[in-house]
């Protein structure tokens, strides 16, 4: 009898432990959008809101604030913007209503070859020999991240598929 009791107990333990497995309480990583961001940028229209940036966008921010901010922002780190001196007035970087309509390719070309190459004002100088292609693409990525109204990438397969 004792043997049978032991055998059943052993079997039950094996069965229960196998069935329940070693499933553990699952913890989730804290999902603060800014903690998950490489860098952040205040929303240009509402400085209390922060836009979180990934690595490439953060590199674009760095390039923008070194090379582009002087003409494509309302204020610069050194004071007043150069925008008011220029005709035609250059678009603000966050101006989605102008820039969202342009493809990444178009923006890349105009930054690389300058405004005159694309039939626009020669006041926009070419940066293809100063910035690397990666840097130029990163600036475009930054533009897209802070665009108002928000930028919707065209032609992406809109799959809502999610693994769970």
């Amino acid at each position: 009898m004792r043997i049978r009791g032991l055998a059943i107990a052993a079997l039950l333990i094996v069965a229960v432990s196998t069935a329940s497995g070693c499933r553990k309480h699952r913890e989730t990583v804290k999902a603060d959008p800014l903690l998950a961001a490489y860098d952040s940028e205040p929303d240009w229209n509402d400085s209390t809101k922060m836009v979180s940036l990934g690595y490439e966008q953060a590199q674009g921010k760095r390039v923008f604030y070194q090379y582009c901010v002087w003409c494509h922002a309302e204020a610069t780190p050194a004071g007043p913007s150069n925008r008011s001196n220029l005709t035609p007035v250059p678009p603000l970087l966050a101006d989605g209503s102008t820039l969202n309509a342009q493809s990444d390719n178009y923006l890349e070309t105009i930054i690389t070859l300058g405004g005159s190459a694309m039939g626009k004002s020669a006041m926009m100088p070419p940066y293809g020999r100063t910035l690397s292609p990666e840097e130029i693409r990163s600036v475009i990525a930054f533009t897209r991240a802070i665009a108002q109204p928000p930028y919707q990438p065209p032609g992406r397969p809109g799959s809502q598929y999610s693994p769970k």
Partner: protein, 712 residues
């Protein structure tokens, strides 16, 4: 035992065996199912289903295998199975944010994921195959994933030199040096600056015991009625470097007693000529004239003053020297005069230049400072302090070392205690179990610990000797990033060649130039061969850029060349001889190897070339979008009104060819000019001369925006 009974037992045993076999079979059937249901296998299968609906299924599933994927880098001790679930990490077409995790591609970074693995940067447990175990810390696995906000710490683990791609890390490292953290802690890759806190050997000649008491008690909130933590009562971006120590009344009295008797070098009194005093002391213009001189000498380039702007009091000015709003109530007037005449006489390592003062200027400015820059309420809360007793002085002397004052401040005969604070050189790799959290109600991980400790050291350890600093959140995050980056030596010796040592100054001028360089402290604002401040243009190659005569005139009467920049170069009241010595040295020694004056001669340029150049400038290239000539044009580059007298022909040509070869971080775009275009533009620029001396920019404190690095 009878056979019959034996048979019965056997039957029962058979039944038991039958039942147990059935259970065993069921268990056997369950375990493949359980295996099939494992977390990582679910992700594997859902990746396949996910890839099916993408247009580039074939490429996405080219290297798919149903097993665990692993990046194994024995040389770096990396066993990363992260790609088991994060399967799209190298697929460029999955970079979009609409792609669900864990399949999204890694954003482009300078490193290849396959070569470096994941945990070197992101931490977490590489060998684990469950979501929670891989990302969070458990009893067995102690490295949680590093929040992306602090990810730049991982760059700093291998790259000791500053990376432009990791600004937060660079800022954190700079703050660690600025805040003298290495005064008490041993840290990796952070140098101890030449001067930490001020030398206190003669502090007793400068300030009163009461002032020291006030300063030690509340270094930051000397005037604070609303309970706001502000610097000397004013909102400022710059955090002050002197932290707040938790001192008892006895300790305060002892330290103030000890410091107030420090008079190693007595003041060398200077008598301002009685004629000057007689002429000015009764003059109602005295104070306003003093203020004018104070501004004309550009004291606010380095020092800040509290100014009312739109109903708010703000500190306006530089942060190289101390804030001066109430300095008249702080320092001894005799000390002030002696200091202004010869700063090095009091503080050998000071960055304050020695101006050429006339008695009249000295009298006016010191009268302005001691009359206007005062606050009669400054020492209101300080109890009456009697002359220091011997016992107080003895205790103060002991406390000066014990409290860590000697770690930052120099005082005759006292040396800092060795290893005063814990060694932090491998602190960034510590596990939560190695940290003492005390009663602090914070998550038990390294990031939370660092932030809590920096914000209030007593929160995790009430007995901590560490004083309290006043950081804003951005600085706190930057310093945390720098601390997290210190994980000891880089992973293995094979990768040490990645580690670039920090730059040392190779610029050691000699002779009469060196004396003037020291006297005017050029390096406080300007860079020379990688050494010096960043407030003003880098002068390493100034001799190639500027014409000698222009340099002489500039040194005697500085002008600003950029419309948006406020002139910050002080007028040193330099003699003709000093200006000539400096200009001679600059134009002969500070030469760029790629700029050869012999290749161009101003005479070779014809008026026809200049006409063509003007057309190119205005129409084809539209340089006026950034540069100003004659009052119209942009604010981005320097104005070119006087380019013909300012720039050398060789510099203009070399600059047009490739600006970044001369100034690597210049924002002037490098164009594809032809040789003819370069010659024409150079001829045009050389023809530009200012008709008369341009008016000096009026001094406006309000526009003291930082244009650092922008140069001229």
């Amino acid at each position: 035992m009878p056979a019959e009974e034996m048979g019965k037992v056997t039957d029962r045993m058979r039944l038991v065996f039958a039942v147990s076999s059935l259970i065993f079979l069921a268990v056997l059937a369950i375990s493949p199912f359980k295996d099939y249901q494992r977390e990582w296998k679910q992700y594997k299968r859902s990746y396949l289903r996910f890839a099916q609906v993408r247009p580039d299924t074939k490429r996405l599933t080219a290297d798919y295998s149903p097993d665990i994927d692993q990046i194994w880098l024995p040389g770096m001790n990396v066993v990363d199975r992260c790609t088991t679930c994060h399967q799209g990490i190298t697929q460029a077409s999955l970079a979009d944010r609409s792609v669900p995790q864990p399949f999204r591609a890694h954003p482009p970074i300078p490193h290849n994921v396959r070569e470096w693995g994941c945990t070197i940067c992101h931490r977490g447990q590489g060998p684990s195959t469950e979501v929670a175990e891989a990302h969070t810390s458990t009893l067995a696995w102690e490295q949680p994933v590093l929040p992306t906000h602090f990810i730049q710490a991982s760059c700093g683990t291998c790259h000791q030199s500053d990376l432009p791609q990791a600004p937060q890390l660079a800022r954190g490292r700079r703050l660690l040096a600025e805040f003298n953290c290495q005064g008490c802690h041993k840290m990796q890759g952070i140098e101890r600056p030449a001067m930490l806190g001020p030398d206190l050997s003669s502090i007793g000649t400068k300030v009163s015991r009461e002032w020291i008491y006030k300063w030690l008690k509340e270094p930051r909130t000397m005037v604070d009625k609303d309970g706001n933590v502000t610097v000397n009562g004013y909102e400022t971006e710059e955090a002050p470097r002197m932290p707040k120590f938790r001192l008892t009344e006895t300790e305060l009295r002892a330290l103030t007693a000890y410091l107030s008797v420090q008079k190693a070098k007595p003041i060398r009194r200077y008598g301002i000529s009685p004629a000057v005093v007689a002429a000015w002391s009764k003059n109602p213009e005295l104070i306003s004239q003093g203020e004018l001189r104070f501004r004309q000498m550009f004291c606010t380039t380095c020092h800040s003053l509290a100014v009312m702007r739109a109903g708010e009091t703000k500190l306006i000015g530089g942060d190289i020297g101390p804030e001066l709003t109430k300095v008249g109530s702080k320092v001894n007037p005799d000390w002030l005069i002696a200091w202004l005449r010869d700063p090095e006489g009091y503080l050998p390592h000071t960055r304050m230049p020695r101006y050429g003062w006339s008695d009249e200027d000295l009298y006016k400015v010191t009268q302005y400072i001691t009359t206007k820059l005062v606050d009669s309420d400054l020492l209101r809360d300080v109890p009456e302090l009697d002359p220091p007793t011997d016992a107080e002085i003895q205790l103060g002397r002991r406390l000066f070392t014990e409290k860590g004052c000697a770690s930052c401040h120099v005082l005759e005969g006292l040396s800092p205690q060795k290893e005063f604070g814990p060694d932090l050189s491998a602190f960034g790799g510590k596990n939560a179990s190695e940290l003492e959290f005390g009663g602090a109600k914070i998550p038990h991980n390294l990031v939370s610990y660092i932030q809590a400790k920096l914000e209030d050291p007593a929160s995790v350890n009430p007995a901590s000797r560490m004083p309290q600093y006043n950081w804003n959140q951005a600085d706190l995050d930057a310093v945390s990033t720098a601390l997290l980056s210190m994980k000891g030596p880089p992973p293995t010796s094979a990768f040490e060649n990645l580690v670039v040592p920090r730059k040392e100054s190779s610029f050691r001028p000699a002779g009469s130039f060196a004396d003037l360089y020291e006297r005017y402290k050029c390096y406080t604002c300007h860079q020379f061969s990688g050494y010096g401040g960043d407030l003003a243009p880098d002068l390493t190659y100034e001799g190639s850029r500027a014409q000698r005569q222009w340099l002489v005139e500039f040194l005697k009467s500085p002008q600003t060349l950029r419309p948006t920049l406020i002139l910050r170069m002080p007028q040193f009241n330099m003699s003709d001889k000093d200006a000539a010595t400096l200009a001679d040295y600059i134009s002969t020694v500070l030469q760029h190897p790629a700029v050869n004056p012999a290749t161009t001669d101003a005479k070779q340029f014809t008026p026809a070339m200049a006409t063509l150049g003007k057309q190119l400038y205005e129409v084809k290239f539209q340089c006026q979008s950034c540069h100003t000539i004659g009052g119209s044009g942009g604010y981005v580059g320097p104005n070119l009104n006087n380019a013909g007298a300012w720039l050398t022909p060789a510099w203009i040509e070399a600059w047009l060819r490739n600006p970044q070869a001369l100034v690597p971080d210049s924002i002037e775009p490098r164009r594809n000019f032809t040789d003819e275009e370069i010659t024409a533009l150079t001829a045009y620029l050389l023809s530009l001369r200012a008709a008369s001396k341009p008016q000096k920019t009026a001094f406006r404190t309000g526009a003291m925006a930082s244009g650092q690095g922008a140069g001229r």
